[in-house]
Symmetry: C2
Subunit: 313 residues, 2 copies
């Protein structure tokens, strides 16, 4: 039996046909075009579904079920997107619309960070665990919490906002309105900002050369320059890793997930990130007499996590 | 059918016979006497169980089941107390010992903060909710997280340590070894420390009179003096409430429990605490388009929460 996973983003909508072993059989995408109206977004999803099924030689109604990963505030009980700025949606009944268009009865929807966490839990870095957390270090710090193969996001389905945990009281201003949120320290955006500040303060730093090679200042600049022995870059990486560790140990102390996966652009640093991070976590973790503690792993599925997670909602 | 709940503390062991409506039918206690050895602690529990059953005219083996709430690091899978300083226990198979002594087959064990959270969820301030968090503002900041009537404490059963979430990076030193833990700001211990500091800085503060009336400096001093209009006391309360709000909003953003109960000594302040706290939470909460948000309530069961929670493990 096949399931369909949809990853609805502000610019692109991806759709995949997924088999019972969580393998992606076929994957297609279309521009989302939120400016053309909410119903157009639904129609694009339906078009992808029909094309996926045509290529596979099945009917949409034959799909076992379908799941949609979407950004913003989602009410997974009603199937509505309550608010998603980059989709220009407000209280839009996406599941109902897509059901009307495709004839698929069983359609579920979930926030994209939660769906990605579920994808990693069923088929990626946290496969086989009873509980896991995924933290995505991208534009923001996203999160998802999975227990027994299901997303946990609280009674109102808006939990999992690990990035909006204050780790520095009265600290850096966050987009959410609070001060000192983890996101303001551990997102790729925050790292780029600190890198630029450190470059201004250190005109001789190798970070300038690296930025020139890469054509821009991104999350890689400080890591690359630090590997080349640049002191200012090492300080940027060290601070970044310390704040990241702080939030991760907070999550572990509260939830003790079997695995905590790190995803998003920064996680591509691999050992350059993971070795100093694990060292700091080991120093700070509160083991309390029981040997087993959370394993930190890099997410495996990249952009497929949301598609596979959606199909498993 | 009756169930038995045990609340094992460093100084006192309480036992209760609890009916199917979670009413306490009878309650007894004995000194724990941890200095007399681990097996003596088990024997005291058995003695309480036999006496409870004798008074009720039933046999211990007729009890539907029994649960034990205990401090420290508990392995609820094996029934061992892995480490509990104030019980002087290290890797002690408490459940096995108590089973041998009482003949009760179904005995469960859980950390006391988690058991209290479960008690409030089944019979107290969070009754009828699908998920709740209890935060206890006492010597430390304890916590418990309940989903669908069960304790969630992670894959290794040592989660729920909300007090050991850093809210001020590089902040006040915490007993756990980290800096800036919520517990170092929001425990009764932390409040007493700040009250004493403010009293030293403000020799004319009404806090001195209040402390004289109460015979000591405790968690009530600043609240009482603030109600009498003392500015220095108001500043202490205001700072306390701000840090408390910070941690609570962190928990809400991550877990969105239907109810978050506050227990422990400080929660007895009632409206003096809850009105300014709720105001600050409303300012900081991240509602994201969905109206329903966590309700903050004062715990209802006081010391019975652990007993009732234990019986419901």
């Amino acid at each position: 039996m096949y399931r369909i996973g949809i990853d609805l983003g502000g610019t692109k909508t991806a759709a995949a046909l997924i088999d019972e072993n969580n393998r992606i059989i076929n994957k297609l995408s279309l521009p989302t075009e939120p400016d053309k109206g909410n119903d157009n977004v639904s129609q694009n999803i339906a078009a992808l579904v029909f094309e996926l099924c045509r290529q596979a030689g099945i009917k949409p109604a034959d799909a076992e079920r379908m799941g949609i990963a979407a950004p913003g505030a989602i009410d997974s009980d009603t199937g509505c997107i309550e608010r998603a700025h980059n989709l220009k949606m407000e209280h839009y009944p996406l599941v109902d619309r897509v059901r009307e268009l495709t004839g698929i009865a069983d359609i579920r929807i979930e926030n994209d960070a939660n769906a990605a966490a579920l994808g990693e839990a069923v088929a990626g870095a946290a496969k086989g665990t009873e509980c896991s957390v995924m933290v995505t270090l991208g534009t923001g710090v996203g999160g998802g919490f999975i227990i027994d193969g299901k997303v946990f996001s609280g009674f109102n389905h808006i939990g999992g906002e690990f990035g909006h945990m204050v780790i520095e009281y009265n600290g850096r201003r966050c987009n959410c309105g609070r001060r000192g949120c983890w996101e303001a320290y551990s997102s790729a955006t925050a790292l780029v900002k600190r890198t630029k500040e450190a470059m201004e303060e250190n005109p001789d730093s190798l970070m300038h050369d690296v930025a020139k090679e890469l054509g821009k200042v991104n999350g890689k600049v400080s890591f690359i320059a630090a590997r080349r022995g640049d002191k200012a870059a090492e300080a940027v990486v060290d601070e970044y890793v310390s704040y990241l560790c702080c939030g991760i140990v907070n999550v572990i102390n509260m939830l003790q997930p079997e695995v905590l996966c790190l995803g998003g652009g920064i996680s591509n640093e691999g050992d350059g990130l993971m070795i100093p991070l694990q060292k700091k976590i080991d120093e700070e973790i509160f083991v309390r007499g029981i040997g087993r503690t959370t394993e930190i792993r890099i997410a495996r599925l990249a952009n497929d996590a949301g598609l596979i997670g959606a199909a498993n909602l």
